[in-house]
């Protein structure tokens, strides 16, 4: 019964100082999520939201963070539109959000992040992996996924260690994510590899026959192919690649960590990709998957669910550290977080520019199942600087 007066007091205060909206309870952590429930980013944001919700329910059921602070999630559909994301972000901030969650892509996150930056609110992208996102916004912007440069450092080193020397890169200028083979290139060349060919594609183009014909005519031939392509481009590409009789191994990134990849059959056999985590019996991701299944009745079909869970675990750790739900204190605490145990990995923000130190898992597709190749955090000295 302690809350009611606080609520009324807060409302009265808001009236006094002329705020149009009513702030939430003073001891709730208000998380404003301006994420895409519809449109082109819904494929990632909707699962991330499910993971967040699971963590929130869990924490609230246990009496809140540290038994004190409940989490209140305010959700606004940003419809995969950058302008809409900014509008939603501003509304949520005005509505008292102490933390903002932005979509799984750098473009809408930049605009929304800038609003958060101006308001002094910490902002987290659900699963954008662009390492330049915090650079573009400022010290209040955080990412929550292994960065493109981090993932490709691990995969490039793996390629060299596997004895591959001549790489072919396939990228699309349509998004910064699909340009990630450029980071791979930096590391691969630094370690003595050579890029013998690279091509662009347009997202959604379906037809890769021209690229495949080019790969076939490369001299020297490529002994490894690296791409950041994902659905629907990746399946189309690899089918056409294999159909042309090219057997070179293919390395991808987390974008293809999707049921489609494992349903592709023979053509996807042996594909290796980097992703945020790997569920091995008894490890945290495995435990999370079981928990999710128990709560929802279905197996998680994408890593983004666990990633959403991670995000809330980070917030939990920050509030615990700050022992407050004050926006400034929470933000300051995030910057000091070390080794927060998430579902996919341990997560560290201390000493970073907002891109967390996380482990990267390299997963191989074997007979339609995932097999762990390795899981590690890369040597920081090898990781290329973010490209803006």
């Amino acid at each position: 019964m302690k809350r009611v007066p606080v609520h009324i007091l807060a409302a009265g205060l808001a009236g006094l100082i002329g705020l149009s909206s009513i702030p939430a309870l003073a001891d709730d952590l208000v998380v404003g999520a301006a994420i895409s429930l519809t449109g082109g980013l819904a494929y990632a944001d909707v699962p991330a939201q499910k993971g967040m919700q699971l963590a929130i329910d869990e924490i609230n059921a246990a009496g809140g963070i540290g038994g004190k602070y409940k989490i209140e999630l305010k959700l606004k559909d940003s419809r995969s539109d950058p302008a809409q994301t900014s509008v939603a972000a501003q509304e949520l901030i005005d509505d008292g959000a102490a933390v903002l969650v932005t979509p799984c892509d750098a473009d809408p996150s930049i605009g929304a992040g800038q609003m958060a930056q101006a308001a002094g609110v910490a902002a987290f992208s659900t699963c954008a992996s662009s390492p330049s996102l915090p650079l573009a916004v400022g010290d209040h912007m955080f990412t929550n996924f292994p960065g493109d440069n981090v993932q490709t450092t691990v995969s490039a080193k793996y390629a060299i260690d596997s004895g591959y020397k001549n790489a072919y890169l396939l990228m699309s200028p349509d998004t910064s994510y699909t340009m990630l083979p450029n980071y791979f290139k930096t590391v691969f060349e630094k370690l003595g590899g050579k890029v013998v060919g690279e091509d662009n594609y347009s997202m959604g183009q379906q037809d890769f026959s021209a690229q495949v014909t080019k790969i076939k005519s490369l001299s020297p031939a490529a002994d490894v192919i690296m791409t950041g392509a994902y659905e629907p481009d990746f399946p189309a590409f690899i089918k056409q690649l294999r159909a042309a009789g090219i057997t070179a191994p293919v390395i991808g990134s987390d974008g293809i960590d999707s049921p489609t990849t494992f349903a592709l059959g023979d053509v996807a056999e042996g594909v290796v990709f980097s992703t945020a985590g790997f569920a091995a019996p008894g490890n945290p991701l495995d435990a999370f998957n079981k928990k999710y299944k128990a709560a929802t009745g279905s197996d998680p079909d994408t890593i983004y669910i666990a990633i959403g869970y991670d995000l809330v675990k980070v917030l939990e750790a920050a509030v615990l550290k700050a022992d407050s739900v004050d926006r400034d204190k929470v933000w300051a605490a995030v910057r000091e977080l070390e080794n927060v145990q998430g579902a996919t990995s341990t997560i560290t923000y201390k000493g970073t520019d907002g891109v967390p130190l996380r482990q990267v898992a390299l997963v191989k597709v074997v007979k339609g199942n995932r097999e762990l190749v390795l899981q590690e955090a890369p040597d920081p000295a090898l990781v290329p600087a973010p490209k803006l």
């Binding site: 429930l37 519809t38 449109g39 082109g40 819904a42 494929y43 944001d45 909707v46 699962p47 200028p173 690279e198 091509d199 662009n200 347009s202 959604g204 183009q205 379906q206 037809d207 026959s209 021209a210 690229q211 014909t213 080019k214 076939k216 005519s217 659905e231 629907p232 481009d233 399946p235 189309a236 089918k239 056409q240 294999r242 159909a243 042309a244 009789g245 999707s258 049921p259 489609t260 494992f262 349903a263 592709l264 059959g265 023979d266 053509v267 079909d301 994408t302």
Partner: protein, 298 residues
């Protein structure tokens, strides 16, 4: 590979891609020829064909029935669209119909996202479809040859239908002069419904090829195909069926050609260059390569 072989291989590539575009454009053009409207919800018919395959596989429908089922559902979807969304607006101007079709497209995408999933659904295609065979030095993918074959088969069947059957002749007549077609005692609703069903069938075939290539079905996957179809149809002369087919092949040739010849540094501008080429063609031939169909509409 020798230069010559690469050239021939790229021609096969262009033929296959162009064929897919031709089928898509033809689907748009059939409806446009009769009603004077671009149905932007055409892409969602592809999506529905894809979901049909997905659910059929999940539901253990015998493989042999999946393709006919998907085509049937695609045709029914197109027919329902006409019945529910467009018929009440019969006689409205092209812009109204166009905007309505945008709305239909948006509503369907929303339904897919809310009722099925925002995530792509995998559609495992049998391995026999993902292979390739050799003709001399050339590797020809099964899906690639299938799309070339499907294009020619569909164009052939459609030609037969349009030339030999009363309904087919009626569709061609309606494309020229709708009121006079009614004076022949032909039921306007039937002719229009038939045009939609055909466009649905074409969308279904394109959808199956599209799905076979991408291996998944996604709530928003219809947008790009309909855009390409639109460009190809405009290029060929909107509403002109022959033009739509040629426009499709032309667009395929431009895209593959640019992909093949442009230096790496210019590749990022490929789509812009391709579209500029299309604009250039339209500057010289505003009615498209084959001239737009002129007609008296319902």
């Amino acid at each position: 590979m020798a230069e010559m072989e690469i050239l021939i291989q790229q021609c096969v590539n262009a033929l296959s891609l162009g064929g897919t575009y031709a089928l898509l454009a033809l689907g748009l053009a059939v409806v446009f020829s009769v009603l004077g409207m671009i149905n932007f919800a055409h892409g969602e018919i592809l999506t529905i064909a894809g979901y049909t395959v997905f659910f059929a596989i999940v539901g253990n429908v015998p493989p042999i029935l999946i393709v006919p089922l998907a085509l049937l559902v695609a045709m029914a979807t197109a027919a329902l669209m006409e019945r529910i969304a467009f018929r009440p607006l019969r006689g409205a101007n092209g812009t109204t119909l166009l905007i309505t079709s945008f709305a239909v497209s948006g509503i369907l995408q929303m339904l897919f996202q809310n009722l099925i999933s925002t995530r792509p659904r995998p559609v495992p295609i049998s391995a026999s479809l993902t292979g390739a065979f050799n003709v001399g030095p050339f590797h020809i993918g099964v899906i690639q040859s299938l799309s070339i074959f499907a294009t020619f088969a569909m164009v052939g069947l459609l030609t037969l239908f349009l030339k030999r059957t009363m309904l087919g002749i009626a569709i061609r007549a309606a494309a020229v002069d709708f009121p006079t077609t009614r004076l022949m005692g032909l039921r306007a609703n039937r002719v229009i419904l038939a045009a939609f069903a055909i466009s649905g069938l074409l969308a279904g075939v394109s959808g199956l090829l599209w799905i076979a290539q991408r291996g998944s079905v996604d709530p928003l996957m219809g947008f790009l195909p309909v855009l390409k179809a639109f460009i190809a149809a405009i290029l060929g002369g909107i509403g002109n069926l022959t033009g739509a087919v040629i426009g499709g092949f032309f667009l395929g040739a431009i895209e593959i050609g640019l992909q093949a010849v442009l230096p790496e540094s210019v590749q990022p501008f490929r789509d812009a260059i391709a579209l500029s080429l299309v604009v250039l063609v339209l500057l010289y031939r505003p009615q498209g390569l084959f001239g737009a169909a002129h007609s008296v509409r319902p």
